[in-house]
């Protein structure tokens, strides 16, 4: 039935969104706090400290790319008007 189809799509898309959100958080946290701690031993990428490059620059571009892929492959068009007419 069309009605429950919409429900399944919406639940799946919420799950994908939350998963991406958690993934971004994990990447942000691990790259910033679980790598080198002593500034005198920092390594640099494109002139900025490596942790900063990974968490702030790569993290931002990475999540945008991943999001684009997810939207392309997991997100479905849902009609907004009269989507539950099949109920009647």
């Amino acid at each position: 039935m069309k009605h429950s189809d919409t429900g399944r799509i919406l639940r799946r898309e919420t799950a994908v969104t939350l998963l991406l959100y958690l993934l971004f958080f994990a990447w942000w946290y691990v790259t910033a706090y679980c790598t080198e701690r002593d500034p005198s031993k920092y390594r640099y990428v494109f002139g900025v400290p490596r942790w900063f490059f990974l968490s702030c620059i790569a993290g931002y571009l990475g999540i945008s790319a991943l999001l684009w892929l997810c939207v392309k492959f997991f997100f479905t068009d849902v009609p907004f008007d009269g989507e539950d007419k099949s109920d009647e």
Partner: protein
Amino acid sequence: MNNIFFPLVCYLLLVLGIAVWGSRKSEKSGDADSFMKEYFIGGRSMGGLVLAMSIITAYTSASSFIGGPGVAYNVGLGWILLSMIQVPTAFLTLGVLGKRFAIISRRTNAVTITDFLRARYNSDAVVILSSAALLVFFMASMLAQFIGGARLFESITGYSYRTGLIIFGITVILYTTVGGFRAVVLTDLIQGFMMLIASFAVLFAVSKAGGGVAKIMDTLYKTDPALLTPYGAGNAIPLPYMLSFWVLVGFGILGLPQTTQKCLGFKDSRSLHRAMVIGTLAVGFPMLAMHLAGAMGRAVMPGIEIGDLAISTLTIKLMPPFWAGIFIAGPLAAIMSTIDSMLIMCSAAIVKDLYFHYAAKNDASRVTPASLRRMSFSVTAFIGIIVFFAAMQPPALLVWINLFAFGGLEAVFFCPILFGLYWRKANASGAVLSMLTGCAAFFFFTITKVSVCGTTAIVPSLSVSVIAFVLGSLFAKAEDETLLKNFDF
């Protein structure tokens, strides 16, 4: 001076022109109902790019362009890390709320967030509380934006605070009043691009003046190695404090009416999908660029005492006047686009949620479209003018309330919106209880500065409001089945 002034005035005229051009469409609407749908939600016609820009510009305010980079100037890269917590704002909001809101608002004919809450909880208490919270917190935030914009104008052009306030204040009030929601989102589109250009320009100017990024990082290291760490100079950003921002500017934004409202106005699934990607790209770039410019500014031009002045000082000293004029349009765009979204929502709260529902008994045949139109225009203008005059002589109370606005709105709206969408047992008792306790807790924790495990006030407050919501809902009866049917998928 004129070199700065000229691009700025051109920009304001452009915004005004676009708003007037865009608003011609609203002339055609038929009855009172369709007028409100047009004026307050643009007839649900936003496409992907417009939706994305509209969300990020409502969200990005003076603090992203002035306050935040100023703190980054003082504490270093750690504050950029903090600002990047906001990258997923757009896709989280749209992914969690977008399609559900779109479908439910069409089923229940909802135009505002309060309409949505009314349809879900069928409770006057919920409606009145949410309208009151929205009006009070939005007016306080708008005041802060007006003040921030006028001060910025003053510090960059050298003209007085009042001149600045009059020039951009009148622009924003005028186009919002005349054009309604459609003008708001159309100008947001331009303002969003302006923010992108401005943030790129200032980042470029700072890194060029400092002789390249690597050299600047080296200078920062010699100034204070802690500037390069996630913890910041003087350990300014301990971990629990940092993690609190994952609530305040992280998932807490699901309760921010100025962004969630936009989920009622878009056209179709495709627009939503595009907006998720564009919004994420477009919110991340100015955040990264502005905060990075602030942090690197410390190496290029040390010794700026007040953080809030860091960006404007850097701009004046490093950029040719014409480009400084372009730059100042960026933060002004951020400010105006936050004000316009709030202004139109305040007007909707009074006209649609309070007047039309209670005085006109929700019956479109009782009011003529012309009178409703006159009323909407005058309410929008009136609220704008009140806040404008308040900004001339800022009243202590409103300035003070602004401190609570962002977190207060989240504490009030987060639970009723999310639980209303995702939990069938959610009911009016839970909603009222959580709105009251959440708001009270936020005031309490902010004023007393009592900290729970090193977090900021939003963390305990939101926890309190969630607990209150769940308890209230469990102890009272669930809402009526016929009412819940609109919320089932």
